[in-house]
C-alpha cells in the first residue's frame, strides 16, 4: 500500500492516452458514425421518395392503360362502323353494277332481235320476189317492182 512515484507515472500516462484519444481516435470514429447516420437518413428518404414515385407511376400507368383501352374501343367501334359502311357501299355498288349489266344485256338482246328482224324481213322480201317470179314465170324486174317489194317487206 505504498504511495509513490507510480501516481505521477500513471497521471502522465493518463494524460498522454487521453490526448492521443482526443486527437486520433475520437474524431475519425465519430465522423464516420455521423456520416453513416446521414447516409442512412438519406437512404431512407430516397426509399420513401421511391415508394411515392412508384405509386405515382403505377397510377399513371393505370390511367394510360384505361385511356388506351378507351381508345382501342373507340377505334374498334369506328372500324366496325366503317366496315358496315364499306359493306353497304359495296352492296349498292354491286346492285348498280348488276342493274347496269342487266340493262346492257337487255339492250344487246333488243339490238340482236332488231337485227334478226331486219334480216328476216330482207330474206322474206327476197323469198317473196323469188316466189312471185316463179309464180309469174318470168323474172320480175327488181328495179321496176322495188317499190312494191319494199311495201311488202314493210308490211311483214
Amino acid at each position: 500500500m505504498n504511495m509513490n512515484l507510480t501516481i505521477l507515472g500513471q497521471m502522465i500516462a493518463f494524460a498522454i492516452f487521453v490526448w492521443f484519444c482526443m486527437k486520433f481516435v475520437w474524431p475519425p470514429l465519430v465522423a464516420a458514425m455521423r456520416e453513416r447516420q446521414e447516409k442512412i437518413a438519406e437512404g431512407l428518404d430516397a426509399a420513401n421518395r421511391a415508394t411515392r414515385d412508384l405509386e405515382l407511376a403505377q397510377e399513371k400507368a393505370m390511367n394510360q392503360m384505361r385511356e388506351g383501352k378507351e381508345k382501342a374501343a373507340e377505334i374498334i367501334e369506328q372500324a366496325n362502323k366503317r366496315a358496315n359502311q364499306i359493306i353497304d357501299e359495296a352492296k349498292s355498288a354491286a346492285r348498280a353494277e348488276g342493274a347496269r349489266l342487266v340493262a346492257a344485256a337487255q339492250a344487246e338482246v333488243e339490238q340482236e332481235v332488231n337485227r334478226a328482224k331486219e334480216e328476216l324481213r330482207k330474206q322474206v322480201s327476197e323469198l317473196a320476189v323469188a316466189g312471185a317470179a316463179k309464180i309469174l314465170g318470168k323474172s320480175v324486174d327488181a328495179a321496176a317492182h322495188g317499190d312494191l317489194l319494199n311495201t311488202l317487206a314493210d308490211e311483214l
Binding site: L5, Q10, M11, C21, V25, W26, P27, P28, V30, M33
Partner: protein, 308 residues
C-alpha cells in the same frame, strides 16, 4: 515462492518496486540455511529454514526492493514497475487498437473490429450526451479513454493469480502484481488527473473569483458561514478524487484478495469457487470501469455548471 499461506498472500499483494534506498540503509535479506552438504534445510512442515543476512549500503542506491519492508522504506521515491508497466501496456493496447480502427473507419458497411469499437464509442457518446450538457471536445474522448483503459486494466484480473507472477518469478522478479487498478497508486493517478481537470474547468468556466465565491457561499449564502462553507466545499471537492480512486481500488483489491485466497485451496477444488468468482467479475469489471467513467463525467459537468 512462498511456503505458508500468510507469506503467499503477502507475496501476491506486493508490487515489484524500483526505488531509492538511502545511504546507510541496512538491507535484510532472507537466505536459506544450508547444511554441510550444501542442501537446503527444511523444518517439520517442509518450509526451508532461512536466516537474515544484513548488508549496509554505503551510498544511496536505486534498486529493486527485495521485500515488502524495503519497498516501504523507499518512500515516495519509488515506482511500481509492474503496475505502471501493465497499465501503460493496456493503455497502448487501447490506443493501438482504437486508432487502427479509427484510421480505417468507413462510413460504409463496418467490419467486425469497427463494429466493436463503434459500439463502445456510441455507448460512451450516449452516456456523455445524457449527463454532460456543455460543449467540450475533451469530455467524450476522456470518458472513452477512462472506460476502455480501466476496463482493460481490470480485466487483467481474469488471468489466474499465479500465472504472470509465476513467470515473472522464474525470470527473477521477486514480486509481481499485475492488476494496476488493484494498486492505489494506479487508481489515484487517474482520479487526480480527473481532479485537476475539475479544478481547471471550474476556473475556466466560472473564473477564479466565481469559483472562490461558489466555494465560499454554498450551501449557506451568508458571509458569517464562509469558513463553514469553505470547509464543507473543499472537503467535498477533495472527496471526489478520493472516492473515485478508492472505490475502484477497493473493488479490485478485494476481488484480487479473494482470488488469492481461492488459490490457496488444493488445485482440484479451486475451480468450485474460482469459476463463479471469475464469472461474477464479468459484471464487476465493466461495472467499475463504467462507474469511474460516469462519475468523471458527472464531476466535470458539475464543474461546467455556473450557478450564477
Amino acid at each position: 515462492m512462498a511456503c505458508n499461506s500468510q507469506e503467499y498472500i503477502a507475496h501476491h499483494l506486493t508490487n515489484l518496486t524500483y526505488g531509492k534506498l538511502p545511504s546507510g540503509y541496512v538491507r535484510k535479506e532472507l537466505v536459506p540455511v544450508k547444511d554441510e552438504a550444501g542442501n537446503a534445510v527444511a523444518d517439520e512442515s517442509g518450509c526451508p529454514v532461512t536466516t537474515v543476512r544484513e548488508t549496509e549500503l554505503t551510498t544511496s542506491t536505486w534498486t529493486i526492493a527485495a521485500n515488502g519492508q524495503e519497498a516501504k522504506d523507499m518512500g515516495f521515491m519509488a515506482v511500481h514497475v509492474d503496475s505502471l508497466g501493465w497499465s501503460v501496456f493496456m493503455g497502448l493496447l487501447f490506443v493501438w487498437f482504437f486508432s487502427r480502427v479509427a484510421k480505417k473507419a468507413t462510413s460504409g458497411v463496418p467490419g467486425t473490429a469497427q463494429n466493436l469499437v463503434e459500439a463502445v464509442v456510441g455507448f460512451v457518446d450516449n452516456t456523455v450526451k445524457e449527463t454532460f450538457h456543455g460543449r467540450s471536445p475533451l469530455i467524450a474522448p476522456l470518458a472513452l479513454t477512462i472506460f476502455v483503459w480501466v476496463f482493460l486494466m481490470n480485466s487483467l484480473k481474469w488471468i489466474p493469480v499465479d500465472v504472470v507472477p509465476g513467470i515473472a518469478h522464474a525470470l527473477g522478479a521477486p514480486y509481481f502484481k499485475i492488476v494496476p487498478t488493484a494498486d492505489p497508486n494506479g487508481t489515484l493517478g487517474l482520479s487526480i488527473g480527473v481532479f485537476l481537470l475539475i479544478i481547471f474547468y471550474s476556473i475556466k468556466v466560472k473564473g477564479a473569483v466565481g469559483f472562490a465565491k461558489e466555494l465560499s457561499f454554498t450551501p449557506f449564502n451568508h458571509w458569517l458561514a464562509v469558513p463553514f462553507n469553505l470547509f464543507l466545499e473543499i472537503l467535498g471537492l477533495l472527496t471526489k478524487p478520493l472516492s473515485l480512486a478508492l472505490r475502484l481500488f477497493g473493488n479490485m483489491y478485494a476481488g484480487e484478495v479473494v482470488f488469492i485466497l481461492i488459490a490457496l485451496l488444493p488445485f482440484y477444488a479451486q475451480w468450485v469457487l474460482n469459476v463463479p468468482w471469475a464469472i461474477f467479475h464479468i459484471l464487476v469489471i465493466p461495472l467499475q470501469a463504467f462507474i469511474f467513467m460516469v462519475l468523471t463525467i458527472v464531476y466535470l459537468s458539475q464543474a461546467h455548471e455556473d450557478h450564477h
